[in-house]
Symmetry: C2
Subunit: 421 residues, 2 copies
């Protein structure tokens, strides 16, 4: 029997694939730790209600959900934020604020698999909970930027597009826009970066906007930089917060990675202040990362008002960009010692030396089956062992083995007892 | 609103819990790497058929399964072995043997949650594929033993109980046992360690065994050591293989962790040779680890005969044993520098120094909101920062900051430029 039993949209992480993934995880983890974040995780299985609370019935179409054998309506997590909210609500009275947490959860979404989008993925989540200062927004943006830089990307490769939901909503409400069209309006704004201005304009007309309102939206969309923003006629608290964020980004010297972008409004209802998305500068791809401030979300779970901000960064789009930029180091199995035995009389000593070196932190292999020495040497090269130990009766009788450095070819007789010291 | 949205049998891995889990993962990973194994993983979602192939319809009751929106019958993986078989079948013509793979998959089972058993868990898997030598069996046992030792356990804490399925089946078939009762017989044998000999005896009678057969089983069950095994009247290839394994375990100097145990037969159909289970010596608990040789399993997936052996070790029972033995180090957040600023005039410099030190691999925090210096110092102690940098206008005007070692209390003036070198 030979049938294809793999599931659409899922990946098999063979060692050379897992190695690339693990490198991303390591950089993500080290960067978040360097910022003083603590690692946590939640279960893959949550109640379906957890997602309904935040996103309504609409979300159910986009995730894996099912009823378990006990009749529970469950879902496989499509993202971590609802889990964070649920977990924080369990402990928020006991821990000092701000809570600085990060995680690299495995998530699943029932989406059409395509470039940059799979049904199983990993998503780096970095969140600061219990802090309403703009500096916290800057801190999470900084973690995202440094994580990408440590993977080899630079300001030439990606840009953090930043906006503020309070600025946008304040501006449009000051113009007398009907609140009921906010959702549709944000969709047009979000889309404006991808289409030409005529398309945007006619979409705005279809929405039933007056000519003056249409003009106001187009004027808003013409803002290209934090400088434009500063001189923009409108003033509200969102704009002040946004300008403060840009000034802090400059102080932290990450402003060259960042730009104001009026089209960034983030579709999700729960964002309240700073919002941002990271895109590759050249690719027509999905966002590498998205995040912002979600001050009202935790209240829905805990009943207590706790401000929060954070981001999610998936492994799929990022992995594709790293590959395109040639920033994926080749996979090499790395072994410190390969032990070659001349006959099976040396098998016992092979086992003893191997275990001793391994327990001293060295990576050690030997061939399980006795094969000719030449073939064992070939295998040592194939697994890229740094050194080979050759165990032969003559040397062993004098208490030594031959140690060969495979890079230099240099051979020496090494006392057996040195492997046990 | 404050409702409990957590799912039965699932864990929330808060930072102090994740820290303990992560320590286990790190030791598992380092040990397997030291043996030259390569890390891989598969998806959490597999086809339900993948598990039916191996375990029949019975398995469906014990796992989470569902039909997705595309009508696919899917399951959340309850273990990794079928995934390994599926993945190996994809690449087995391309890669040299033996394949030495390990993984730390997240798995889910629909079981009644209880001590040592949860619905979501992690399971260390170590497998050697394409090698039929007893030394490969010994190698995986050795990885399991060393992983536990590196977590602080010793031969006083756990024992590897070893047997060989070919020895058992060969013995009983030589006695003319009906093959159809093998399953029921193995269950009684497996249970014999937990009940008294009368219970075992009457269970054997119920099975319809003749008195002589019943005697033969009890004689088999009276074998207590590899020494007993050696002098046991029966000889077959399974016994020879088992004695060879014990002799290699002695050569590798891990025999003190191991014992022959006739009651270890492993319920699963697919085991063929060496089988083993690891138990805590004192606890009445589920096995820490189970494994063995499964030479026929891969044939079912790939059509090609590939011998294999390996084990699975879950995090739940192991975590409980480590806690009972006091082998869980306390969680401490670890920070290298906490930056204290006297006023917000020093915020820009705080951001610059923080980012520079972080990108040099140091863990750095500061307070987002400006609070009194005394409170900032208290926060530095609470996060157990090694050092505090105090940024005040006077020192900054001379190009320095005050650096205080929180362990010794010693203060010094450090040039600001040193943080950027």
């Amino acid at each position: 029997m030979k049938v294809d039993l793999s599931v659409r949209g899922m990946r098999d992480y063979f060692p050379e694939i897992y190695y690339r993934l693990n490198r991303i995880f390591r950089v993500w983890r080290e960067t978040a730790l360097s910022y003083g974040f603590e690692e946590f995780d939640g279960p893959v299985i949550e109640t379906l209600d957890l997602y309904r609370i935040k996103s309504g019935e609409e979300i159910v179409k986009q995730l894996y959900n099912f009823t378990d054998k006990g009749g529970r309506e469950l879902a496989l997590r499509p993202e971590l934020t609802p889990t964070i909210a649920r977990m924080v609500s369990r402990i928020q009275n006991e821990v000092p604020k701000p809570i600085k947490w990060f995680s690299i959860p495995r998530c699943m979404r029932y989406e059409k698999p395509q470039k940059g989008r799979l049904r199983e993925f990993f998503q780096y989540n970095v969140d600061i909970i219990g802090e309403d200062e703009g500096i916290a927004d800057v801190e999470v943006i900084s973690v995202a930027v440094d994580s990408l830089c440590r993977l080899g990307l630079s300001e030439k490769d990606f840009v953090v597009r930043i906006n503020n939901r309070n600025f946008v909503s304040g501006y449009f409400s000051s113009l007398g826009f009907d609140k009921r069209i906010t959702g549709a309006l944000y969709k047009i704004i979000d889309n404006a970066a991808k289409v030409n201005s005529e398309t945007t304009s006619s979409a705005l007309e279809e929405l039933g906007l007056y000519r003056a309102q249409n003009e106001a939206v187009r004027k808003y969309l013409s803002l290209k930089s934090a400088g434009d923003l500063k001189t923009f006629e409108v003033t509200n608290s969102g704009k002040e917060a946004l300008l403060n964020v840009f000034s802090l980004l400059e102080a932290a010297e990450i402003n060259e990675f960042c730009a104001f972008d009026p089209t960034v409004v983030r579709g999700l209802d729960y964002y309240t202040g700073t919002v941002f998305e990271i895109f590759g500068r050249s690719e027509k791809m999905r966002a590498i990362c998205g995040g912002g401030r979600y001050n009202n979300l935790l209240k829905e779970f805990s009943g207590v008002d706790i401000p929060a901000c954070g981001f999610g960064m998936g492994d799929v789009v990022l992995g594709e960009i790293l590959a395109e930029k040639g920033l994926v180091p080749p996979y090499e199995k790395s072994i410190d010692y390969f032990i070659v035995r001349v006959t099976d009389n040396e098998l016992d000593l092979t086992l003893k030396i191997a275990r001793s070196l391994r327990n001293r932190g060295r990576r050690v292999e030997y061939n399980y089956k006795l094969i000719p020495v030449k073939k064992q040497m070939a295998r040592a090269s194939r697994v890229r062992s740094a050194k080979v130990l050759i165990l032969g009766a003559d040397e062993i009788s004098t208490g030594t083995v031959v140690e060969k450095d495979l890079a230099t070819g240099v051979e020496a007789e090494t006392p057996i007892k040195s492997f046990f010291e």
